[in-house]
């Protein structure tokens, strides 16, 4: 989640020897107070390093590898599996794909083996449930427990992060390591780095989606809709609870 301030200073001195902290903050779009606070605490966040690396035009994964705890990131990077790619297609894009595959007299389904014609682009990453979908796609069934054990955090804290579509970068790397997938893939689904920065092939999500059999696509979409329904029901219940509280005690 963070690197020691001293290591950050050394890295910054190597990458941008002539720039002051103020200039670095300005070009990276970081508040000076934010960086100052991180330096005082002695821990600089990954997002700060990523922002600076982007501003300096550096390879983001290579920049992270300049720190001891992330030095194996480039070697551990790998193209995402088909399951990972599909997990990063949003619910609405799955539904759109299903609709676009429905044949009609004007638009009959293509013959088996060919791809389905489409004139729309997938929503950008990450989507509303990127983290949960990725964890479910890559993991063995006990992945969450193993992440919590490996990272020595309470399982409830991990669940809270996943529910909020967040995952600390260190946990994302731990998850990828346990699941045996590319180490940078978790950073993509959490929005820490982009899929381009992680070296994903352009259009790979679209290709994976197009290659997915319709039956599997519909089954996946049904599962996603069920999860969405659960989330909406929970939100409705929360709203009703808050409304009752305000009505009686507000």
């Amino acid at each position: 989640m963070s690197v020691p301030a001293k290591a950050f200073q050394q890295w910054l001195h190597r990458c941008a020897p002539g720039l002051s902290s103020a200039e670095v903050c300005r070009i990276a779009g970081i508040k000076r107070s934010t960086l100052a606070q991180q330096m005082v605490r002695g821990k600089v966040s990954i997002s700060t390093i990523v922002s600076i690396a982007r501003a300096l035009g550096l390879d983001v994964v290579g920049a992270l590898a300049g720190f001891e705890k992330y030095q194996d990131l480039p070697d551990g990077a790998a193209q995402p599996t088909a399951a990972e790619l599909i997990s990063q297609v949003s619910d609405m894009d799955l539904l759109r794909e299903i609709l676009s595959r429905q044949g009609s007299t004007e638009n009959p389904p293509p013959p088996a083996g060919s791809t389905f014609p489409r004139d729309w682009a997938l929503a950008p990453l990450p989507h509303r449930t990127s983290v949960r979908c990725w964890i479910d796609a890559v993991g063995p069934v006990d992945l969450r427990q193993r992440i919590a054990k490996e990272a020595a955090i309470a399982p409830q804290n991990l669940s809270s992060q996943i529910s909020a579509n967040r995952l600390a970068p260190d946990l994302a790397i731990v998850a990828a390591r346990i699941a045996g997938v590319g180490l940078t893939n978790g950073l993509v689904v959490t929005g820490t780095i982009t899929s381009v920065e992680a070296g994903w092939m352009p259009g790979s999500r679209t290709a994976a989606l197009q290659a997915m059999p319709s039956a599997a696509l519909v089954t996946l979409a049904a599962g996603r809709l069920e999860n969405l329904g659960r989330t909406l029901r929970r939100f409705d219940a929360d709203n009703e609870q808050a409304a009752a509280l305000w009505e009686n005690l507000g």
Binding site: L245, L249, G250
Partner: protein, 239 residues
């Protein structure tokens, strides 16, 4: 310590009544305003200087103490009814406003009145401390504790559940404060009527519960003021 707590609780009660006044004038949750007015009366009358003066006006035979008791019953009935509805606990609503709850309130009120009438209380005495050797006064004291403890015990469950599950942190915090207040009311009663080693903390728990209820309701009000207009919680977009 006790005197400071008493005056602090009186100030909090009075402030709360003043705070609820504008909403009451607009017709919003007027019972909460009257609850705080009654709380101010009850807390004020527990302070010797105020008690002796007011009881003097009422004939000097400790009717003011009876006024405290019935104010407390009304306060706990209003608060418990509102809390049970606010936390959507049907069981709690039934236990307060249903036949069981009303019977409990009626019995305790009747017992309080009977114990008061048969006691010999010729001279004003704050908290009836000077008459505590009379069995009827002891019964009167126990009866006075029973209904508040019953109502508070009914509310511990719903507020504890809300403290764990409410979506907003501010609502969880308010539920936790209210839950703490009700636990303190129950413990204060247990301390009075049992041999548990809690007697030194009775005052702290009694007045602390008032402060916690006020703080919990203040947080609900802050949450109400800061609510989004519609819907209360932003629904996640079906992305």
């Amino acid at each position: 310590m006790s005197t400071v707590l008493q005056w602090m609780a009186l100030a909090v009660s009075l402030a709360c009544a003043g705070w609820r006044l504008p909403a009451a004038v607009k017709g919003r949750n007027t019972s909460l305003f009257w609850m705080f007015v009654l709380l101010t009366v009850a807390v004020g009358l527990s302070i010797p200087a105020i008690y002796l003066t007011v009881d003097g006006w009422l004939g000097g035979v400790n009717v003011a103490n009876l006024l405290i008791r019935f104010s407390l019953y009304a306060i706990f009935f209003i608060l418990a009814s509102k809390m049970a509805a606010a936390h959507r606990s049907r069981r709690s609503q039934w236990l307060i406003r249903g036949p069981v709850g009303l019977a409990a309130l009626g019995l305790v009120a009747a017992a309080t009145l009977v114990f008061f009438v048969i006691s010999d209380l010729p001279v004003s005495n704050t908290g009836l401390a000077g008459y505590s050797e009379q069995w009827s006064v002891q019964g009167y004291a126990v009866a006075g504790r029973l209904y508040p403890a019953y109502a508070a015990a009914v509310l511990v469950g719903p507020t504890a559940a809300a403290a764990r599950t409410a979506a907003r942190a501010i609502n969880r915090a308010s539920a936790a404060l209210l839950c703490l207040a009700f636990i303190m009311v129950v413990l204060a009663t247990l301390a009075q009527i049992s041999t548990l080693p809690l007697k030194p903390f009775i005052d702290v728990m009694s007045y602390g519960s008032i402060v916690c209820v006020a703080a919990g309701l203040a947080l609900v009000w802050a949450s109400f003021r800061g609510r989004p207009h519609a819907p209360p919680v932003k629904r996640p977009a079906a992305q």
